[in-house]
């Protein structure tokens, strides 16, 4: 059985304070946390580390969260990571678009840390 601390979670956001809080939260839950400050960094990191779960902001400089999602979901079908969008974009169309691209979860900002952790944990449990 694989332990949760063997699961890598990649967090991509351009807001330092959000990164800071997410890093703290997921480390505390026992995940191995990777950090990216924009979309391009997230893709590079994915290629390098193959994280199991990606927590993506959408509005990021250079490459946005949507693009990162469709990159990982189309190119790596069988071993694609689970994708969780965490975004201030919370119009119905935007959320739908996220799911269309293959996201597993879409949580609007501002989010509840407890709920986020609970839901990500559920996803992780499925993978274990």
């Amino acid at each position: 059985m694989i332990q949760r601390n063997e699961l890598k979670v990649l967090i991509a956001d351009d807001e330092p304070s959000i990164l800071m809080s997410l890093e703290f939260l997921f480390k505390k839950e026992g995940y191995k946390v990777l950090i990216a400050r924009d979309g391009q960094e997230a893709i590079n990191m994915f290629d390098l580390e193959q994280p199991a779960i990606m927590i993506l902001d959408i509005m990021m400089p250079n490459v946005d969260g949507y693009k990162v999602c469709s990159y990982v979901k189309t190119n790596f079908k069988t071993r694609a990571p689970k994708v969780v969008f965490l975004s201030a974009k919370n119009k119905d169309t935007e959320i739908e678009h996220g799911y269309e691209l293959g996201a597993d979860l879409y949580i609007p900002k501002p989010f509840s840390t407890r709920e986020l952790i609970k839901k990500v944990n559920l996803i992780a449990t499925d993978m274990l």
Binding site: D14, E15, P16, S17, I18, M20, S21, L22, F24, L25, K28, R37, D38, M59, P61, N62, A88, K89, K109, P110, F111, S112, T113, R114
Partner: protein, 894 residues
């Protein structure tokens, strides 16, 4: 002066007129008009001022003082008060293709030929002496100037050759190949030039006499206003009275409109009704200018030539310069009078020849059945040759009159006699355009009665007296003695005749019209004339013709007048516009009217009427039918106008609506985008605050340092939030115009200190060096200090944020240009890529290359900065090179 030289100069002057006329005709063939403007129109109306004005006014001052002005007051009043009458006559004449005053009158009374004939005869009888008078003026002044008396025979007289040159001019520019609706562009342009010339010439003489021979107006009166005659002339008590003034004003007003040449220039040659509007003041101005120096010239002449009966006051204009050997001025005076005389002869000849041809000779020829059968389609050739012959005849008659009869009358009296004759047209024209009940019988009887009175009291007495002033026999003496009973106290002969003839004329016209019935054709023309503004537009008229006509006949008739090329073009155009098939055998009534109207403009309404009647089978249209048609066409015109107005209103409204809608939509989109962005920008710090607070709450075991970092971040994010809210509010305030500018004098060094103090910390943090430089001392620069500080802080903090990590510097300089105080903020930082430079002032736009430094502003700073500059009416300029640095310049008006 040498007679030969004067001849050469006179002929050269005429040559110049030929040249001007050619130029105008050339322009016309290029579809440009030199005469379609109010100035040329007003100048052509000034053909009213003839040699009589030029020489005679001065002469008249001697006899009747200020009364000489009455004949100029008449036209001035017509322009100032009666221009709407003139406009109506112009409109009628344009719509119904009227070619002369005779044509106008006969057309009004059912195209009644006899009226046209009588008007032509009266015009001829009044016009020939008038032309003779002009020739006399040319001849006499030639003699005065050259000092040579012409020989007894006509061929010894320069005036004869001058007359023949005028005939040539008139033939050339008055009867070129006649075409529909064609005006005499060249002639009118030459006439306008003559009007300028005669005015300048008179002013030259007047200035010479008043300022060179005397010392100004005051001096003239001091030196010369002593003679008995002059005092008498200027004394109203001793003059014949106001009655003469009134009558002279009246007849000159009538003549100004209805003299053949005046009708020609004012109505027939009018290019555009709108030209009248400015002529309303231009013509009175002309009249004023040409009369300024009349009295000084008369007074000076009277005193200088006192007792010399060989010099007539009519010649003072030339004699005065000659008396002091100012030959050049005398020559200018001669040429001024020459231009006045020639202008009159040319236009009068064209006008009368048109009448003779269109209203007298052609209709008479067409009365003859054989002639009509043979020449219906060749009338145009007759028309041209008859008119040419008429021109030669009229000028010759004028010359003949001058040689034989003219000595019986003085310059002024011939003019006034003509005025009285022409005034006989006034009742039937004015009545005709305002009163539908007037009949042709009334008009004819009125006209003939007035004319008879004129003939018997102004013409015959002079002809029937011998040299001693006695009537040639007792019967005639008795006859005239009887009429002497009708002499009104205080009226001179002219006024007396004018009064009686016009009164009797009007009375008979009115009474007989009341007792005679209108025929259908009279009723039709009455309606069309009186209600011209109602039933016709500038472009077209109502069709009131009934009967049978064949297309081929109509087309053949039209072709005979305007040639097959032009006819084909015009017919096709007409057929297309009116939906007519020209291949049909029977013609549409519209085409009949069209053809009649077109050829009317060439040979007059009466002749055209006869021609059209001769090739068609006409039926009488009853008055009821006419009224019916007119009512319909009026309704159409009204409906069209209403529809046009409605459509215009609707178009305007829908355009406004569209604009407003677009604006609303645009501002709506902008607002929506703005709102979305703002919400997003607010959510971001909110998210951090919420997440971090939850973490602190849920993790009681958090280390002290960790907790401190989190709490500090929360504080920062809260600050960011409140900053954002403030900026959004600021921006809203500037955009909606709710801001208040509190301008005061800015102490620039002090301002820089304040700003730098507030930037110190950030600069130190980023290791950036802050520098400033003031190029010039700037005084009296007014701006809103708080906003200026906000702007500079925005610009400086941006510059600091994007400066390079090593050896970064930011420089603030202040300088002035023409009207601006310019603040420049320069850094040696990362620079802004070309494609982003134009966008960085947009709201929430943040250059993509910011992320490396991760310096998140609200994205509103530059927008606000730009707004601050804008509300100061200043401007912003940006220069940037990636990796070299950025330079932002803001200029404030100073």
């Amino acid at each position: 002066m040498n007679g030969f030289v004067i001849s050469v100069i006179s002929i050269s002057y005429l040559g110049f007129l030929f040249y001007l006329a050619f130029v105008a005709e050339r322009f016309k063939s290029k579809k440009k008009s030199l005469i379609d403007n109010p100035f040329v129109y007003a100048l052509s109306l000034s053909v009213y001022c003839t040699a009589w004005t030029f020489y005679g006014s001065v002469g008249r001052v001697n006899q009747t003082g200020l009364e000489f002005l009455s004949v100029y007051i008449g036209p001035t009043l017509v322009m100032l008060l009666g221009w709407s009458v003139l406009r109506k006559i112009i409109r009628i004449s344009h719509v119904y293709s009227i070619t002369s005053v005779a044509d106008f009158i006969s057309a009004r009374y059912g195209k009644y030929r006899s009226l046209g004939v009588w008007v032509t005869i009266i015009s001829l009888l009044a016009g020939i002496p008038y032309i003779g008078l002009q020739i006399k003026a040319i001849s006499k002044t030639f003699e005065t100037l050259s000092g040579v008396t012409a020989g007894q025979y006509f061929y010894q007289e320069p005036a004869f050759y001058i007359s023949m040159l005028l005939v040539a001019f008139t033939l050339l520019f008055g009867t070129r190949k006649v075409q529909a609706n064609e005006t005499h562009e060249g002639m009118i342009f030459a006439i306008a030039a003559e009007s300028i010339f005669k005015l300048l010439a008179f002013l030259a003489v007047g200035i010479f006499v008043t300022f060179w021979m005397n010392n100004g107006f005051v001096d003239v009166f001091e030196k010369h206003y002593y003679q008995k005659e002059i005092e008498n002339a200027f004394d109203f008590e001793k003059q014949t009275g106001y009655g003469n003034w009134f009558i002279h004003i009246l007849v000159s007003a009538c003549s100004f409109m209805f003299l053949p040449r005046q009708f020609q220039v004012a109505v027939v040659e009018n290019q555009n009704e709108n030209n009248l509007k400015q002529a309303i003041w231009l013509l009175p101005l002309y009249m004023f200018l040409i009369n300024i120096f009349v009295i000084p010239t008369a007074l000076t002449g009277n005193s200088i030539f006192a007792g010399d009966s060989s010099i007539s006051a009519d010649n003072y204009v030339i004699e005065l310069p000659l008396s002091v050997s100012a030959n050049v001025i005398a020559l200018i005076a001669y040429l001024g009078g020459f231009s006045a005389a020639t202008g009159m002869i040319i236009v009068e000849t064209i006008a009368i020849s048109t009448m003779l041809t269109n209203s007298l000779i052609l209709p008479s020829l067409l009365e003859n059945k054989k002639f009509k059968e043979k020449y219906t389609f060749k009338i145009i050739n007759f028309a041209v040759w008859i008119r040419r012959a008429a021109i030669v005849l009229i000028v010759l008659l004028g010359f003949f009159y001058y040689k034989t009869v003219a000595s019986y009358f003085s310059l002024v009296s011939i003019g006034l006699i003509a005025f009285v004759a022409v005034s006989q047209f006034a009742p039937i024209i004015l009545g005709g355009i305002f009163w539908k009940g007037a009949t042709k019988t009334g008009a004819l009887v009125g006209l003939i009665s007035g004319f008879t009175i004129w003939l018997f009291s102004l013409i015959l007495p002079s002809l029937l007296t011998d040299t001693s002033g006695q009537y040639i026999n007792t019967f005639i003496a008795g006859f005239f003695d009887f009429f002497a009973h009708f002499k009104i106290q205080g009226f001179d002969d002219i006024s007396n005749t004018a009064f009686w003839s016009i009164v009797i004329n009007s009375l008979l016209y009115f009474v007989i019209s009341m007792y005679t019935e209108l025929t259908p054709s009279e009723a039709k023309q009455a309606l069309l004339f009186v209600d011209v503004f109602k039933y016709s537009t500038k472009e077209g008229q109502s069709v009131l013709w009934k009967g049978k006509a064949r297309n081929e006949h109509l087309i053949e008739l039209l072709v005979s007048f305007i040639g097959s090329m032009q006819a084909k073009e015009e017919l096709e155009d007409f057929a297309r516009k009116n939906n007519i098939d020209l291949k049909d055998v029977t013609a549409d009534p519209k085409l009949v009217s069209y053809v009649e109207n077109t050829i009317s403009s060439i040979i007059g309404t009466s002749t055209a009427r006869m021609l059209v009647a001769s090739i068609t089978k006409e039926e009488v249209v009853s008055i009821d039918e006419i009224l019916e048609v007119l009512k319909r066409s009026q309704k159409i015109i009204e409906d069209n106008q209403e529809l046009k107005i409605k459509t215009q209103q609707l178009e305007k409204l829908s355009k406004e609506l569209r604009n407003t809608n677009e604006k609303l939509q645009k501002s709506d989109t902008i607002k929506n985008e703005f709102l979305t962005t703002v919400t997003h920008e607010i959510r971001t710090p909110l998210t951090s605050i919420k997440a971090l607070t939850e973490i602190i709450y849920d993790n009681e075991d958090l280390g002290f340092d960790q907790k401190k970092i989190f709490l500090n971040t929360i504080i920062d994010e809260t600050d960011r939030l409140s900053r954002l809210v403030n900026q959004v509010l600021d921006l809203e305030k500037y955009e909606s115009g709710k801001h208040k500018l509190i301008k005061k004098n800015i102490d620039i060094p002090n301002l820089i200190d304040t700003v730098f103090l507030r930037m110190e910390e950030l600069a130190k943090e980023r290791n950036v060096k802050l520098k400033s430089f003031i190029h010039k001392e700037i005084k009296d620069f007014k701006a809103d200090e708080d906003k200026l500080i906000q702007l500079l802080i925005n610009l400086l903090s941006n510059a600091i944020k994007f400066s390079r990590p090593e050896k970064g510097w930011v420089l603030l300089t202040v300088d002035t240009s023409k009207n601006n105080v310019i603040f420049t903020v320069e850094d040696n930082g990362v620079g802004i890529p070309q494609e982003m430079q134009s966008r960085i002032f947009e709201k929430f736009y943040q250059a993509d290359n910011q992320d490396s430094i991760k310096e998140k502003g609200s994205g509103l700073g530059l927008s606000i900065s730009k707004k601050i500059v804008e509300i100061h009416k200043g401007n912003v300029k940006l220069e940037s090179m990636p990796d070299k640095g950025t330079k932002v310049m803001v200029g404030f008006p100073y």
